[in-house]
């Protein structure tokens, strides 16, 4: 298990967004997190990435307890994420967005730059080349010099993934990576996620598109009203009566 979520609870005033959520994410797996709107999926991702503190419960990443860590410390342990309401750096170009994402892996010290050392310049070229390779990988190589605010919706989502990849994470949290994408674009992202997983990266993703989740994820956790209904493989989850009830309602409701 790379990530163990244990009895995570989160209250917002009187609202209980998460009520004791527990499940594990296996190393190297693509794990889906699904559930109706308001089930607490994004809250959980925010807690995992240290942006929102949990009211109670514990998180274990590798062999560290991380539930009290602030966001930048969680990130330093190799957790990168994207946001449901895209949070790019709009005024920066695509390449600059990815360069900014290299914060944890590229030291870029000031002193050699002040002295104009050729080594610093070579190093910078190498970093920029890495950034560009990531852009090419998500299919935005020809957009490198374009400000992020000029991108289409789907391209913004892919750029956010690129920025997250720039820190070479071992756990990637994707909050609705293909929301609002055309089918072809979606296939591209699915292909990208598969290739990342095949390189050993662990991916936890939230998505409403069931076909996408069922095809891509080896494990799926279903949340409803802040609690886990079930965790299992796609085939088990798809026929689980409570899951069907959560999504479609009870058939004998009016009987």
């Amino acid at each position: 298990m790379l990530l163990e979520i244990n009895q995570i609870t989160r209250h917002f005033g009187g609202l209980c967004a998460l009520a004791g959520v527990s499940f594990g994410v296996e190393s190297g797996s693509v794990h889906g997190l699904i559930g109706p709107n308001g089930a607490g999926k994004t809250t959980l991702i925010n807690i995992l990435s240290g942006i929102t503190p949990a009211t109670s419960g514990s998180l274990r990443l590798g062999d560290l307890q991380i539930e009290t860590f602030p966001a930048h410390k969680v990130a330093a342990l190799g957790v990168a994420r994207t946001f449901q309401n895209i949070r790019l750096f709009p005024a920066l170009t695509c390449l600059e967005n990815v360069i900014a994402g290299q914060h944890l892996v590229a030291p870029r010290p000031l002193l050699p730059r002040l002295m104009c050392l050729p080594a610093a310049r070579r190093q910078e070229e190498a970093y920029q080349k890495q950034s560009l390779e990531i852009l090419v990988r998500v299919g935005l190589g020809d957009r490198a010099d374009l400000p992020a605010q000029h991108l289409s919706y789907g391209e913004r989502r892919r750029l956010e993934i690129a920025r997250a990849l720039a820190s070479r994470p071992r756990l990637l949290l994707l909050d609705e990576p293909v929301a609002g994408m055309r089918r072809q674009e979606m296939m591209g992202v699915a292909e990208l996620i598969r290739s990342l997983a095949s390189e050993g990266m662990t991916i936890l993703l939230i998505e409403h598109n069931m076909a996408f989740v069922m095809e891509l994820c080896s494990r799926i956790t279903v949340l409803n009203f802040g609690s886990v209904i079930t965790t299992g493989g796609p085939s088990e989850v798809g026929i689980h009566p409570e899951v069907i009830e959560a999504y479609l309602g009870k058939t004998d409701h009016y009987a």
Binding site: S49, P70, A71, A75, R81, H103, L110, L132, G141, A164
Partner: protein, 296 residues
């Protein structure tokens, strides 16, 4: 050559003031580049100016050492102030730094050692034009290199989106405090140089209107690249003289033209006057060409 001597005899002090104002604007630029709206930089200049002035007049410090001490004092106060107030965002930070500025101004009026409301006087006028511009070149070089270092990218990220920056592993408290402290250092340096330029400094010079003027320099010139604040400071400091040259001497009209320029820039050039001249490029054309080839 004779003409140049004449120019300096007439406009020498203007050239000096442009330099000092440009330095002050650069100090605010650093803070702004990390997305933090500070109205405390005039007060940091005051701290630098008074520290350096007191050290030279009352303790017989040499010029260079007072400059250093003034800058460091401002940086230290900036650091200590930054720790609590940088938790505030946007306009709330502006209000907090503004009140800090008032505290400094009122302290300078009421303390004995600062000379009270009459100001501190008797500083030897050691600051020369050449030195001012040498410092500006040095600061600009430093800021240009800082921009593409790890700290510079962190500032950019925080300005663009603080939550996303934190999720990328940027310790936002650390880098915001760093930007604030560097800004305070440069402001303190400018203040210390100013104290040794004008023989006398008074508390009113580092008050609210000075703080707002710095912000206007950055807005008019542009706060995205270091050229902007220098340009804005130069233009707006020279404006009264330019207007005098065109025959407009009345005070209110000067304020009107100032306001008009600010309005036009905000409406039509949201990134400041620099956006007229250049588009900021960070990437080698060669690297980009490489990408196109790879994709084919």
């Amino acid at each position: 050559m004779a003409q140049l001597t004449y120019f300096f005899a007439v406009y020498g002090s203007l050239v000096n003031f442009i330099g000092i104002n440009a330095l002050l604007a650069l100090s605010l630029y650093v803070t702004l580049s990390a997305g933090q709206l500070s109205l405390g930089n005039a007060a940091f200049a005051g701290i630098g100016g008074y520290t350096a002035g007191i050290l030279t007049t009352q303790f017989g410090f040499p010029y260079s050492l007072s400059l250093l001490a003034g800058s460091l004092a401002a940086a230290l106060v900036g650091f200590l102030l930054g720790l609590p107030v940088l938790r505030l965002r946007g306009v709330f930070l502006a209000i907090a730094t503004l009140s800090f500025g008032e505290v400094v101004r009122i302290a300078a009026i009421n303390l004995k050692i600062t000379g009270g409301a009459e100001g501190l006087m008797g500083m030897p006028t050691h600051t020369k034009t050449g030195f001012i511009y040498l410092v500006i070149i040095g600061v600009c070089y430093f800021l240009a290199k800082l921009r593409y270092s790890k700290a510079g990218w962190s500032f950019e990220s925080i300005r663009e989106d603080e939550t996303a920056a934190a999720a990328m592993g940027i310790n936002t408290t650390y880098y915001k405090t760093l930007a604030f402290t560097i800004g305070a250092f440069i402001a303190g340096l400018a203040g210390a140089m100013y104290a040794h330029l004008s023989y006398i400094i008074t508390p009113g010079e580092f008050g609210f209107s000075a703080a707002v003027n710095l912000l206007i320099y950055c807005i008019v010139g542009g706060s995205r690249v270091w050229v902007g604040p220098v340009l804005g400071a130069a233009l707006l400091t020279a404006l009264p003289e330019i207007l005098r040259g065109t025959g407009i001497t009345a005070g209110p009209i000067r304020m009107f033209v100032n306001g008009l320029i600010l309005l036009i820039v905000i409406l039509f050039l949201p990134n400041g006057l620099v956006s007229l001249f250049q588009r900021c490029r960070t990437v080698d054309a060669g690297v980009l060409a490489g990408a196109e080839i790879e994709e084919k």
